[in-house]
């Protein structure tokens, strides 16, 4: 646990490709956000159920 905290507290490692420079923590945040967006678009949404003996159409 202490080792993990130390890694977080240290100066971040930067990755550089030409003019692109990004710190590893920022890259992780970007990848997590992008993955979440893609998963939200492709994962199937669970089918809901109506309460027993009642249907929304009954209200109208």
């Amino acid at each position: 646990m202490h080792a993990a905290i130390q890694v977080l507290a240290d100066a971040p490692v930067y990755l550089t490709w030409g003019w692109v420079s990004v710190s590893v923590p920022n890259l992780i945040a970007i990848l997590v956000t992008t993955s979440l967006l893609v998963l939200a678009l492709v994962l199937p949404f669970p089918k809901g159920r109506h309460p027993k003996g009642r249907h929304p159409k009954d209200d109208s």
Binding site: A29, T33, L36, L37, A40, L43, K47, G48, P56, K57
Partner: protein, 226 residues
């Protein structure tokens, strides 16, 4: 309802309060304010991120209220205080994560379609106000990290000409801005944003007609999910 009351409701309004009530009743009837069903296309994970952002905001306000009442000497030293402080911090991380996914989803969906420009604009204003809330919060950590953030921000704020009245190096001012001004503005903007979503409805995806037809084919009524 008595006959007099019915007549009073049907009569044209004579004051600005009556006119305002009429406008609100027409724009936001109870069925729109608290709907029981949503269109079939809302059954997608991408539509969950708006409410997740709201849940994270509620957690931020709740934990922030506890921090405000107990004070820095409690949340910087006691174990419970450090826990609530961390809860506040991580709620903010989730708030921004969910909000950015919500924003990206709505951007690619062109969510300003169908008279929803104001909904889009209030969302964007809420995003900018959240950045202000985040900045003032980061500078309240009172550590080397917050010191660095404050002095980087100070240069930026001076450059745009507002550093004279919003001074991030003034801890007392930043504290009051963070615990009162920014949350009040943010909560009002978010409330307007949510009401606009209720008035205009959730934005349909670009292929909404196809989704609705598919839902109808599978035995569900168009315009129904749940």
């Amino acid at each position: 309802m008595s006959t007099d009351t019915v007549r009073a409701h049907q009569a044209p309004p004579t004051s600005w309060i009556g006119r305002l009530r009429g406008r609100l009743e027409r724009a936001l009837p109870y069925e729109k304010l608290l709907p029981e069903t949503q269109p079939a296309y809302v059954a997608s994970w991408i539509y969950v991120f708006g409410v997740l952002t709201l849940a994270a905001l509620a957690m931020i306000v709740l934990s922030g209220t506890v921090l405000a009442f107990e004070g820095p000497s409690w949340y910087h030293t006691s174990r419970t205080g450090l826990f609530v402080n961390s809860l506040h911090f991580w709620s903010v991380q989730l708030f921004f994560l969910f909000m950015v996914v919500h924003l990206a989803g709505k951007f690619w969906m062109a969510a300003w379609r169908g008279s929803r420009a104001k909904t889009w604009i209030t969302g964007m204003v809420a995003f900018v106000a959240s950045v202000g809330a985040g900045l003032s919060g980061y500078t309240l950590q009172t550590n080397f990290d917050s010191q660095w953030i404050a002095f980087e921000a100070k240069d930026g704020l001076n450059a745009v000409g507002i550093g004279a009245w919003f001074n991030v190096a003034d801890l007392g001012q930043v504290m009051l801005v963070h615990v009162f001004f920014v949350p009040a503005v943010l909560v009002v903007i978010v409330a307007v944003h949510v009401l606009l979503v209720r008035i205009h409805g959730v934005v349909p995806p670009i292929d909404a007609a196809e989704v609705e037809a598919r839902a109808a084919h599978h035995g569900r009524e168009p315009g129904e999910v749940g």
